[in-house]
Symmetry: C2
Subunit: 256 residues, 2 copies
DNA sequence: GGGCTTCGTTCTATATACTGAACGGCGTCT
DNA sequence: AGACGCCGTTCAGTATATAGAACGAAGCCC
């Protein structure tokens, strides 16, 4: 899960601390010491001390017996603060509201982190049929319109370095070949936006556009529509609204 | 900020790691090494290694120069996973939706953590005039209806152990005397719900009720209303809806 | 019911992370 | 321009966290 960078001397306990937190985040629910040990591979005794420390600090919680561990409340505050402190998210707020009003569909603002995109802000569609989303959620870049729009601002060579040759499929429509994806990126650069045709979630088509306030781009906005509700006219309207939103966001972030 | 529990040997780097994360969470924006050092008090060189490690892992980010630090994207995922994995939050979803529909006001589900309450879920009022809220936000227990409803499920003696003698005022209406608060808690036990009369935010009155699926209670729901919109009839309707929501939540969480 | 496995916890030598001082680069003040 | 002060970075001795094994307590099988 976590990419261990091949860098020089790191503080071992710090690495383990965040790896542990990421482990618990990735597997909600309570886990025994042995189960955690199995997954992370640290010696039992070392793990034991670490867990005890984190429990005392409230970052990990135990059940009543004290032998099963899960993520703690303290972790919650830190995560959300990333959003609070981000100038781009703050500057994007009115644009996202506007985009949500214009399209009446679910809107996402996301950031590329490694090979994933992370949702930074969402505007939920008020329709009964709507995609499930949550700020902080991570999705593979190669299967989302957001990710593809962002990858298209990288050179082909950079993309080859970033992504593995074969990509993990999420639905039957996911493109799993990196070179095929790179061909698609060229097309995305031409038309200015990316489309996800049920590559990430069956029944959902997404339109994504990068916000190039820096190069390569870091953030993108998207609009997700259930295919059941999509008409050519609606699609055109969404694309227009996205281009408009992109321009507004560029303006709002030009000083960042 | 972080309450250093007086327990036995802890893993120093782990403690510092989460303390650092909490520092960055508490002060959004970028900070120089010296500024961080000033705040947390660790030796410069120790801090330097820790920061470098966390930057490599993506939990802390640097600006272009590499000398100013801020919270990183990686922290975001872990925080939100606490919500995702929580059975109470999951079970409460339909009840919160219903409460939001019934009252048309802002709804909160929160959990007591030390002397603070932490928002676990919110339903925003669709009115133009609405309180600012965010999941993960922490507020003092003594100044909120949520916190007071929860504290009322503790004994007076437990409350005395938990809270300091004088409480920090947030507005001119905040009760700052612990013994006065304890008197109010007795009244809350009688009537079954708590009220915050602009003690936390000027112009905002909140009604809170504990969900006693365990004793003492851990979670509470509240409804926040701008005083400008509050009439006796509206207030009665809100209280009824809260009692109803409490009963539903008890039912939904009886197996947890 | 006894022995066996499994799991959490404690113990102690050893590897290693921490610290305080020294270094070097940069901006600034006179 | 020169010197000072500030800040990030490196270095080496020492305090300390780590890891493997031993311990103790449940639960399980026969």
């Amino acid at each position: 899960m976590a990419v261990a960078e091949g860098a020089g001397s790191q503080v071992k306990s710090a690495v383990r601390t965040v790896e542990l937190l990421e482990f618990f985040a990735g597997r909600p629910g309570m886990h025994s010491l042995a189960a955690v040990q199995e997954s992370v591979g640290y010696p039992k005794s070392s793990l034991y001390m670490l867990l005890r420390t984190l429990v005392e600090l409230g970052w990990i919680e135990t059940d009543a017996t004290g032998t099963r561990y899960g993520i703690g409340v303290r972790a919650l505050l830190v995560g959300t603060s990333y959003i609070d402190g981000d100038e781009v998210v703050a500057a994007a707020r009115p644009t996202l509201d506007r985009l949500s009003d214009d399209t009446s569909e679910t809107i996402h603002l996301a950031r590329l982190d490694g090979t994933s995109v992370v949702y930074l802000a969402t505007r939920q569609s008020q329709h009964y049929l709507r995609p499930f989303t949550r700020v902080g959620r991570r999705l593979p870049a190669h299967s989302t319109s957001l990710g593809k729009a962002l990858l298209a601002t990288y050179t082909d060579e950079q993309v080859r370095k970033l992504l593995p040759e074969t990509l993990e499929p999420l639905t039957e429509h996911t493109h799993t070949d990196r070179e095929k994806l790179i061909e698609e990126l060229a097309q995305i650069r031409e038309q200015g936006f990316a489309v996800d045709r049920e590559e990430n979630t069956l029944g959902l088509r997404c339109f994504g556009i990068a916000v190039p306030y820096r190069t390569p781009a870091r953030d993108a906005v998207s609009c997700s529509v259930p295919v059941a509700r999509l008409t050519p006219a609606h699609e055109q309207m969404i694309k227009d609204a996205l281009f408009d939103a992109r321009d507004r966001l560029l303006l709002a972030t030009r000083r960042l």
